[in-house]
Structures are given as structure tokens and as C-alpha cells.
């Protein structure tokens, strides 16, 4: 065990058992998986993406490129989990990934030997000979070798939550800057949210041995958190990563509610996706250490200087027996001193700078740490790091060490500032990019903007928060800023050790090397975005947080441009990867979208209905009876029973729009191609409406209930669309019209009864209403009551071609009405039918429906052209007169029957003249709808075919190669049943 004997923010009274690659280990509450692994002497944790090189733990935060593991098992397996941010829990199991057969011995590490061949752009230049092998051989091989972890194979068993939050100020990051900001804003009374991705607030303070107000800085953190927790206007969100900045001050954040537990407790989500709307935001996300590139810089044991400090100080885990620090800045020295203080054996500090600041030299001397100034690491050795070769003025020297802690300077975490496209700006004095233009309302404080001293982080957090809330009208108290050190940063830009030995990695996860950058330069991929895409630099799961700046700086050296002008690649959301399930939340499985039952749903279920999705609705499709062997048998029965007796179907899903007002009739005249202002009260009329481009939008019957009162019905699919269109017409096109609309779709249950006995049934449910043919003729509308006092509207309309009525009652009465109709119809053999039989009957009758109203057909195409009034304007009139709409060869709507009555028709078949081949050029149209007609005893179809109406009686091919169909069909009139409509009027 390399657990340091004392210190650390771990709870030694709470030991936790866990396993890695099946091996049992122990850690403590407060550990991350990474710190626990290190404390258990595990140094080899993963394999890299391309060359499968052994890798250890590089960082102590979410920027980790190397230590990716498969966490948990079975359906909960989470590939690519960063050991550095996985909070240890009892029973945790993790496994290494991207290796076979084992982490220790991975066959694909031979890729490393091919390194000289596999440089940037390799794939684009090869695998082309012979062409056929790419698909069969090369690509499957590449794919199998690529990828990292394995996805789970079963549905994710956990649940996820979504929550909205609103605040005045969102503080992102709870380090020194963020805590001061939240305190300042919180004390002002503003509504504040403080989110930190870590499970503990404090940021760097948790790992730095610093003082605030002459006391250990940790005390400041504890005080601040306690005060914030007590403020009612402040919400603390630990374990919460703000992952994206979006328009309108909206932020996406992910809270890991139960990831630190073996399983989510009952009724607790695994994670929660927060949608935060913030009037102002303050980014206090800190900065990370970036590496220096040199040969052999990827061996397990090489880590960032900050990571060394964090493991030693925060987790009391010693990453290795002896450590060498290699850096170009003074901050790394303090990291080394803190680590030494915690118990790490620091063999040497190697600094590329010929002369380090005297004060640091002095400190090193006091601690007895050896210093090599003007030194560079030129090689490393050991499968797990065992020694470091350092070159300096005095020559080369090999130093035994298990840890090489490197720091090439700090890179501010500017990611979120660029989500609106803002470009970070290079600051030479800190050799790093700081935020440029930020999303509206966003400010930045602390290390995230390059303020690297603790004093300035505290001060800036307070100042920026005060300004943000005072912009919103809150008066910020002059919060006293605690005292802390304010040492100047000292850094000399240094990216890459020239002449170092062995592959030198820039992007550790994607195995992008210094040589790859040279290749990209040679081949002209010099713009940073091209460099990225050609070499995959920065495209790994860490998004290049530790590699981008170095990589582009190395390109800058090659092009001779300065680093700032070379620029960074674009940061995009999410800041760190986010689980898909968390964003989906409750909307999964059957709850993906709402299911809308009809008012008679329970009744239909009791009748044994099979249901079908119709948009969000669930409708009865057919009602099978015992003994029936397939759906067709059932549907035939339902159709026959309706046509010979009486049938019943729920049609409540149609859109119903109440239209009132003095101008209602005039309004309808403008939206329908036919006229409604002349419709007598108590009558209904079939109407067709167009889009402004002349194509049919929807159809349905509209009734006149009163002098200034109409009721429109729309198709189920278009209910919302038509309502919106009508509001558009009223509010945008003709605001002068005095018309009031309301959707009454949900208010009314509507049941259709159809068949020769329909009136006999109806008569028994109405409360003394005269529904005789004379009193309520075809297309008549009556209002009254049914079932002894239930308000009802009765429309004598028909989709089936039979005598039919639609009876509307308040939705709550829908089931009662269905039951009453069934009882009243029992003597006549009343039969409930579903959408399937409805479809058969409408096809037999030759009515157009969804398949024909497909957004590509004009009224004329559908044989409805004659309905169009020539005496008025209406939406779509002008453009429906365009040449293409009037062309000779345009399709028209007709019926089809098989020449051989036994043949089955298929919707989707195309029509071809006989004797012509099945090519696009010979395509004459297609079958839109088909049904087996029990009445006729064969399949029938509707379709659109060029000049159809002129070709009645002609035979054509119905060509359906996707189902192997090719049969002769005869073009016929679309109404197979009662073309004169006599049955409707009896």
C-alpha cells in the first residue's frame, strides 16, 4: 500500500472494498478510484487508443486522458469512465478496457511496432488495393481495433431526472474564486446557484497547502460552504458539471445524484439533468496543468505535477516511490514542495529555465530537494516508469524514479466561454489562452481567466459577483476579501523537448505524436482545425484538454506563426461527456411520448380490441372474436356487419374546432376551396383546404351550428396543424376579421354509427329528437340530448358510404354512449369496428385519406378540383393555377382492381404501361391505398396515375419489386360501392 500514513481528506474510519480487473482492493471514503488505485500500488490502468500502449494515471480531474475504465457490470456497465473522477464506493468494480487478452499482455500493442507506418493520414493513403478488400477485410479490422470500452448490452436499469432551475447568478466552479463569488452574491440576496463537478467544494484549495487569513485554507472552505448552505437564496450543487452554455442564459448541467453509491436508493435517480436559466453567470472553473512533450512521456508513472500534489495532499496516496518533477514554471515547484511535505520523496526538480527564481531555489534548498536548472527530460525507461534521463549543461544523467511529474504551465478551463464561438486569446505572460468573447451575461474569475494567485482568485470572485448582481439591481455588500498569498506567476513557454528519444506523445489518448504534427505540417494540414482532423489531436474523450495547446503551439513553431495567431480549435458542448440517458430522463420506453387514449378506450379494451398507434393516439384497430384466425377475417366480419346491419366506431380523435363570430362564414370561405358562408344552419358540408402553395392540406366536414357559429372537423393527424394554420390566417393574414376560435377536440367524445340499421339504433338513444330522413337528412346536424339528458350533437355524415351518424357527447359520457349504443343495437347485431374496417370501407367508397393527402397532391389530382369555387379567393388558389398543376400528364385519383381477381394488391406499387421495363422513365404513378373488399370478394385499390380519369378500363402493371409483385390491374372509378351515394340518403 502506498497510502501515506497521515493527512488527506479521506475518512480513514470508513474503509471501502473495491476491485480492479477482478482483484480485491481497499480504499477510503473520500477517495476517487484513481487515488485508491494508486494507494494500492496500481500504476498500469489502461491502454491507449491506437497503439495500445500501457498507460497509467495522468491527472486528478476530469481532463484525464489515460485512466479510462469500464465501471460496474452488466446492464450498468459504463465504458470510458475516468478513474480520476469516479468517487469510490463500497463494492465498486472496475475493469481495464481496450486490451486483449489482458491489461498486462495486449496483443494489439504490436500496433506500436507499426508506429513508423501508422503515422497521421496513414489510412487515407492505403487500403485501396484491391478495392474489394476494404469492405471485407481492412475496415472490419480497423473497426475492431478502434473504440475503447464496451457498451452495456441490456437496457439501462436506472432512472434519470430532469429539473428546471432559475437564478440570478450561476457560479460555475466552487474553488477559491467560486466560493467567494457565491458568498458575495448570496449575501446580496440574489438567487444564486453554485455548481461544482467535484464531490467536494474547494477546488485547488483541497490540494494546496495554502493559508487564508493566516489559517489553513481549508477552514475558509468549510466556513464558506456552511454559510452558503444556510442561505435560503443559494442552492449548492456539488457533483454537478455545467456542461453547456445555450441561448437565453440557459445552461445544461448534470448532477451525479447516486453515482457515488453502489446503487441508487429507491426512488432516487442515478443522475439529474438540470436546465438552469440564469440572468448572469460567472465561470470560476479554474485551470489545469498541461504536459511537456518528450520521448517516452507516456509511461505509467508520468503524471501532471498538479496530480502528484493532489494525490499526495488531498488523498494521502503516494503515486510512486521516487518522483522527479519536470517543469517550466514556479507553480510546479510549489506542487513539488506540497507533495514532499505530504510524504512524497522528491528526487529532483528539473526546470527548463536556466535560472529559477531565487525564492524557490531557497525553498528547495530548505527542503533538501535537488534542483536541475536548464534541464530537460530526454528519455524515460521501464514498462512502468523506473527512471528518467535528464539532459543539462553538465550532460545526461539517469535518475531512478517511479513518478515523473510534469508541468508545461497552466491552461485555463475556458471551454464554456467558447460555446458561443468566442475565441480564447493568448496571453504570453502566462503562456496560456484566456477567455475571449463570452456568451452574453457570462463573466470569468480566478484561474479560469489566468489569475493564478490565490489572493487574486478570491478578490476577483468577489468583485465579479458583486458587479454581476449589481447589474441586476442587488446591492452587494462590500464583502471583505480574505487575505492570501499573491505570488507572481513565473513561466517560460516551453512545449517540446527537441531531440528526445522514443515516441513523444502530444495527445495521450489518441496517440498523436510530435511526428504526426510534423507530417501534418508537411502535407499542408496546418490550420488548427485541419491539424485536428488529420491527426485526431484533441478528438479523444478528454477533448484534448491536456494536449490541444501544446499541439497547436508545436504547429506554431513549425509554421513560424505565433501561438496566439495559430489559435485554438473550437470548444463545443458538453464540457465533459454526458450520459444520453440523463438527457432523455423520463422519456423512454413507453413514456417516450405521451399515449392519448380515446374516451372509449377502456370500453374498447373490455371488448377485446387490438389497438394501433395513430400519432400519439391509441385507437382500436379491430375487435377479434374467438375462433377468428387472422386480422383479415375479423375485419371482413366487421365490414360486412356494418354494411348489412350496423357498426360503431369511436371517431373522437378527429380535430374539432369551434369557430364563432360575425365573420366566421367569410373566414371559412377564405380557408376552404369551397363556400361555407352559404351553408344553412343545421347543415354540414365537406370541405377541402389548401396550403398557400396550392397543395391539399386537410379535409373534413364543417357544420353550421348557429348563424355565427361553426364547428370544423379535421383529420386526426392534422388537428394541431390546422388549428395553428387558422390562427395564422386570423392573426396574421386577416386580423380585421371578427372570429373566435377554440379547440373542442378534448371536450367531445364522438362515436360514429353506420349501416342500414343506424337510424333504428340512433332513435333509441336520443331523447325524443326527430332523426327521420326528413328531419335530419344527409349532411344534416341536430343538437339535443341523448341518454336522458346528456347534451349531444348529431351529424348525419358518413365515411363508410353507409347511412351514418356521428354522435358527440361530453367526453366523460363517451363510454356510456358506446355502451348504450351497443345495447340499443344488440337486436340489429351492432358490431364495434376499428380503424382497419373503417379504412376498408372508405377505400370501397373511394374517399381520399391520409395516404392520398400526402402533401404532394392537389385538389385536382384527387378529383376534388370541381369543389373549388371560382367566385372567391382562398388560400392556395393562385399557386394552384401554376402550369405544373394543370399539366396534361399529371396524375389523377382513380380506383384499381386486379385483372386476376385472386391477386393481392399492395400500396406502394408503381404503375407501368404493359410491355415497358421497370425504370423511372416509365413510372406512371403509384398505388396509395389498398384493401380486401369483402363486398366484392377481391382486393381493391386507390391510386394516382397519369391521366387516370381518361384511362378507366385500361390495364396497367402494378409493379412492386420490393415485395416481388408485378400484376396487371385495371383502372376503374374510385368508388367501388354505391358510386351514386344512394345509401347515404335513405
Amino acid at each position: 500500500m502506498s497510502r501515506l500514513s497521515e493527512g488527506g481528506l479521506i475518512d480513514r474510519s470508513k474503509p471501502l472494498a473495491f476491485s480492479f480487473d477482478g482483484k480485491a482492493m481497499r480504499g477510503y471514503a473520500g477517495d476517487t478510484l484513481a487515488s485508491a488505485l494508486l494507494a494500492n500500488d496500481v500504476r498500469l490502468v489502461g491502454r491507449s487508443f491506437k497503439y495500445h500502449r500501457p498507460r497509467g494515471i495522468f491527472s486528478s480531474g476530469s481532463e484525464e486522458p489515460n485512466a479510462l475504465v469500464e465501471l460496474r457490470d452488466g446492464a450498468r456497465r459504463e465504458p470510458n469512465s475516468r478513474a480520476t473522477v469516479v468517487e469510490l464506493y463500497d463494492g465498486l468494480s472496475a475493469a481495464s478496457q481496450n486490451r486483449w487478452p489482458s491489461l498486462d499482455f495486449d496483443i494489439q500493442s504490436v500496433n506500436g511496432l507499426l508506429g513508423p507506418l501508422l503515422g497521421a493520414g496513414f489510412y487515407y493513403k492505403t487500403f485501396m488495393w484491391p478495392a474489394a478488400l476494404w469492405e471485407k477485410l481492412y475496415e472490419p479490422l480497423i473497426r475492431r481495433a478502434a473504440g475503447l470500452g464496451r457498451a452495456a448490452e441490456a437496457p439501462d436499469p436506472d432512472s434519470y431526472d430532469r429539473s428546471f432551475a432559475f437564478c440570478d447568478l450561476l457560479v460555475i466552479g466552487g474553488g477559491a474564486a467560486g466560493l467567494m463569488a457565491a458568498l458575495t452574491a448570496g449575501r446580496s440576496g440574489a438567487r444564486v446557484i453554485l455548481a461544482d463537478e467535484d464531490f467536494r467544494f474547494g477546488g485547488r484549495i483541497l490540494a494546496e497547502r495554502a493559508e487564508i487569513d493566516d489559517a489553513p485554507s481549508l477552514a475558509f472552505v468549510e466556513r464558506a460552504v456552511a454559510e452558503l448552505a444556510a442561505l435560503p437564496n443559494v442552492r449548492l450543487l456539488p457533483r454537478t458539471t455545467v456542461f453547456g452554455a445555450y441561448d437565453g442564459g440557459t445552461f445544461g448541467a448534470l448532477e451525479r445524484v447516486a453515482d457515488h453509491l453502489p446503487l441508487p436508493p429507491a426512488f432516487t435517480p442515478r443522475q439529474r439533468y438540470w436546465k438552469i436559466v440564469a440572468k448572469r453567470s460567472l465561470l470560476c472553473a479554474g485551470a489545469i496543468d498541461r504536459p511537456i512533450v518528450f520521448g517516452g512521456n507516456d509511461r505509467p508513472g508520468v503524471m501532471s505535477a498538479q496530480a502528484l500534489r493532489t494525490y499526495a495532499v488531498r488523498y494521502a496516496a503516494n503515486p510512486g516511490k521516487r518522483a522527479v518533477v519536470f517543469a517550466n514554471n514556479g507553480y510546479a515547484w510549489s506542487a513539488a514542495f506540497d507533495a514532499a511535505e505530504a510524504g512524497v520523496d522528491i528526487a529532483a526538480i528539473v526546470d527548463v529555465r536556466p535560472e529559477a527564481p531565487p525564492i524557490q531555489l531557497e525553498r528547495a534548498k530548505r527542503r533538501g530537494v535537488r534542483v536541475i536548472q536548464g534541464g530537460q527530460v530526454v528519455a524515460t525507461s521501464g514498462r512502468l516508469l523506473s527512471s528518467v534521463t535528464v539532459r543539462s549543461a553538465t550532460g545526461e544523467e539517469k535518475i531512478a524514479a517511479e513518478v515523473l511529474a510534469i508541468s508545461g504551465g497552466s491552461s485555463p478551463n475556458v471551454g464554456l466561454t467558447s460555446h458561443f464561438g468566442g475565441k480564447p486569446v493568448y496571453r504570453a505572460d502566462i503562456a496560456g489562452f484566456v477567455p475571449g468573447a463570452c456568451p452574453p451575461g457570462m463573466r470569468v474569475a480566478g484561474a479560469a481567466r489566468g489569475d493564478y494567485s490565490l489572493a487574486r482568485c478570491l478578490a476577483a470572485g468577489a468583485a465579479e459577483a458583486a458587479e454581476a448582481v449589481s447589474e441586476l439591481g442587488f446591492s452587494a455588500y462590500a464583502t471583505p476579501v480574505p487575505q492570501a498569498r499573491d505570488n507572481a506567476i513565473t513561466v517560460t513557454p516551453f512545449w517540446h523537448v527537441p531531440g528526445s528519444r522514443g515516441p513523444a506523445f502530444v495527445d495521450l489518448q489518441n496517440d498523436v505524436t510530435a511526428k504526426d504534427i510534423t507530417i501534418a505540417h508537411t502535407e499542408g494540414f496546418r490550420a488548427v482545425e485541419l491539424l485536428k482532423r488529420y491527426t485526431t489531436l484533441g478528438m479523444a474523450t478528454d477533448q484534448g484538454r491536456t494536449s490541444n495547446v501544446t499541439g497547436l503551439a508545436m504547429m506554431a513553431v513549425l509554421t513560424g506563426q505565433d501561438v496566439g495567431a495559430t489559435g485554438t480549435t473550437l470548444f463545443r458542448p458538453p464540457y465533459t461527456p454526458v450520459a444520453l440517458g440523463a438527457i432523455a430522463g423520463h422519456h423512454r420506453g413507453k413514456d417516450f411520448r405521451a399515449t392519448r387514449p380515446t374516451p372509449t378506450h377502456d370500453w374498447a379494451r373490455a371488448q377485446g380490441a387490438v389497438f394501433v398507434e395513430a400519432g400519439l393516439w391509441l385507437r382500436a384497430q379491430y375487435f377479434p372474436r374467438p375462433g377468428e384466425t387472422d386480422w383479415l377475417e375479423t375485419v371482413n366480419r366487421e365490414v360486412t356487419a356494418t354494411r348489412t346491419g350496423v357498426g360503431l366506431i369511436d371517431v373522437s380523435t378527429f380535430g374539432k374546432i369551434d369557430i364563432q363570430g360575425p365573420d366566421a362564414g367569410a373566414f371559412l370561405d377564405r380557408v376552404y376551396i369551397n363556400t361555407f358562408s352559404t351553408l344553412p344552419v343545421g347543415r354540414a358540408r365537406y370541405g377541402v383546404m389548401l396550403r398557400e402553395d396550392g397543395i391539399v392540406m386537410d379535409d373534413g366536414t364543417t357544420s353550421r351550428l348557429g348563424e355565427r357559429h361553426y364547428l370544423m372537423t379535421t383529420t386526426t393527424a392534422n388537428a394541431a396543424k390546422v388549428y395553428q394554420h387558422l390562427e395564422f390566417c386570423l392573426q396574421v393574414l386577416w386580423p380585421e376579421l371578427d372570429v373566435q376560435m377554440a379547440s373542442v377536440s378534448e371536450q367531445w367524445a364522438q362515436i360514429s354509427i353506420a349501416g342500414p340499421q343506424a337510424r333504428a339504433v340512433l332513435e333509441q338513444v336520443v331523447d325524443g329528437l326527430d332523426v327521420s330522413n326528413a328531419a335530419l337528412p344527409y349532411m344534416g346536424v341536430a343538437q339535443g340530448t341523448v341518454l336522458s339528458g346528456v347534451a349531444a350533437r348529431i351529424f348525419r355524415v358518413s365515411f363508410s358510404g353507409e347511412l351514418g351518424y356521428e354522435i358527440a357527447v361530453p367526453a366523460r359520457q363517451g363510454r356510456r354512449l358506446a355502451e348504450a349504443l351497443m345495447a340499443a343495437g344488440a337486436p340489429f347485431g351492432i358490431t364495434p369496428y376499428g380503424t382497419e374496417a373503417l379504412g376498408v370501407m372508405r377505400i370501397e367508397k373511394g374517399h381520399v385519406s391520409g395516404n392520398e393527402l400526402n402533401g404532394q397532391t392537389s385538389a385536382r389530382d384527387l378529383g376534388l378540383g370541381r369543389m373549388a369555387s371560382t367566385k372567391k379567393d382562398y388560400v392556395g388558389r393562385v399557386l394552384s393555377q401554376r402550369p405544373a398543376f394543370l399539366e396534361e400528364g399529371r396524375v389523377s385519383f382513380v380506383g384499381f382492381k386486379p385483372v386476376n381477381p385472386g391477386d393481392r394488391l399492395r400500396a406502394g406499387a408503381h404503375f407501368l404501361p404493359h410491355g415497358r421495363s421497370g425504370t423511372t422513365a416509365n413510372d406512371e404513378g403509384y398505388m396509395t391505398s389498398v384493401a380486401f373488399s369483402p363486398l366484392l370478394g377481391h382486393w381493391i385499390g386507390l391510386g394516382l396515375i397519369a391521366r387516370g380519369t381518361e384511362r378507366i378500363g385500361e390495364s396497367v402493371r402494378a409493379y412492386d419489386p420490393v415485395r416481388g409483385g408485378d400484376i396487371p390491374v385495371e383502372i376503374c372509378h374510385p368508388a367501388f360501392v354505391d358510386p351514386e351515394g344512394e345509401r347515404l340518403r335513405v
Binding site: 445555450y246 441561448d247 437565453g248 442564459g249 440557459t250 436559466v277 458561443f420 452574453p440 398557400e692 402553395d693 394541431a720 395553428q724 390562427e727 395564422f728 386570423l730 392573426q731 396574421v732 393574414l733 386580423p735 376579421l737 371578427d738 372570429v739 379567393d873 388558389r877 393562385v878 399557386l879 393555377q881 401554376r882
Partner: protein, 92 residues
């Protein structure tokens, strides 16, 4: 994105449906050049990279059509009014 509905207040764009540029006006259908005018009205757009006044429908809210002033490069929103032109939006 959040749109300031003059009736409901500021709401997520999710509640609205989008139509597009509010500039095109339905032409006089009786005019002799109606065919051309309608073609332009229905199909042609300025599609500016910058300020645009555009029509949104608050379908999940007050069901009003509103005209939003927005910048298509930044999504910054300058304001919104009822499309019907009246202050109260009650089509009066």
C-alpha cells in the same frame, strides 16, 4: 433560446413553432401579377445573416402569433410583439 411572449412572458423556444421571415405579405390575389407576387411571397426569402423579424406561434402557451426581432448570427433577441399588430393582441 428564450422568447419574450408579450402575453406569457419569457419562455423557452420549445413552446413555440416557427414560421419564418415576417416581411413577406400575402399579395392581392386579384392583382394582374398575382401569380408572380404569390411565387415571391411563398418561396423567396431574404434569409439575412443578421437582424430578422420573424413569425413564431406560441402553440403551447397563449396561442398567439408573435413577431420576434432576432439576430440570426447570435440568436440575440431584441423584442417581440403580437403579429396581429394590436397591443392587446386580441385581434382587435
Amino acid at each position: 433560446m428564450r422568447l419574450p411572449c408579450p402575453y406569457c412572458g419569457v419562455r423557452d423556444a420549445h413552446e413555440f413553432s416557427y414560421l419564418g421571415d415576417a416581411a413577406p405579405r400575402r399579395p392581392d390575389p386579384a392583382a394582374p401579377d398575382a401569380a408572380d407576387a404569390f411565387h415571391d411571397y411563398v418561396y423567396l426569402r431574404d434569409n439575412p445573416a443578421g437582424a430578422i423579424r420573424e413569425l413564431w406561434y406560441h402553440g403551447a402557451g397563449c396561442r398567439r402569433w408573435i413577431v420576434v426581432d432576432r439576430d440570426t448570427r447570435t440568436h440575440a433577441i431584441a423584442g417581440a410583439t403580437f403579429a396581429s399588430g394590436s397591443a392587446s393582441g386580441d385581434a382587435s
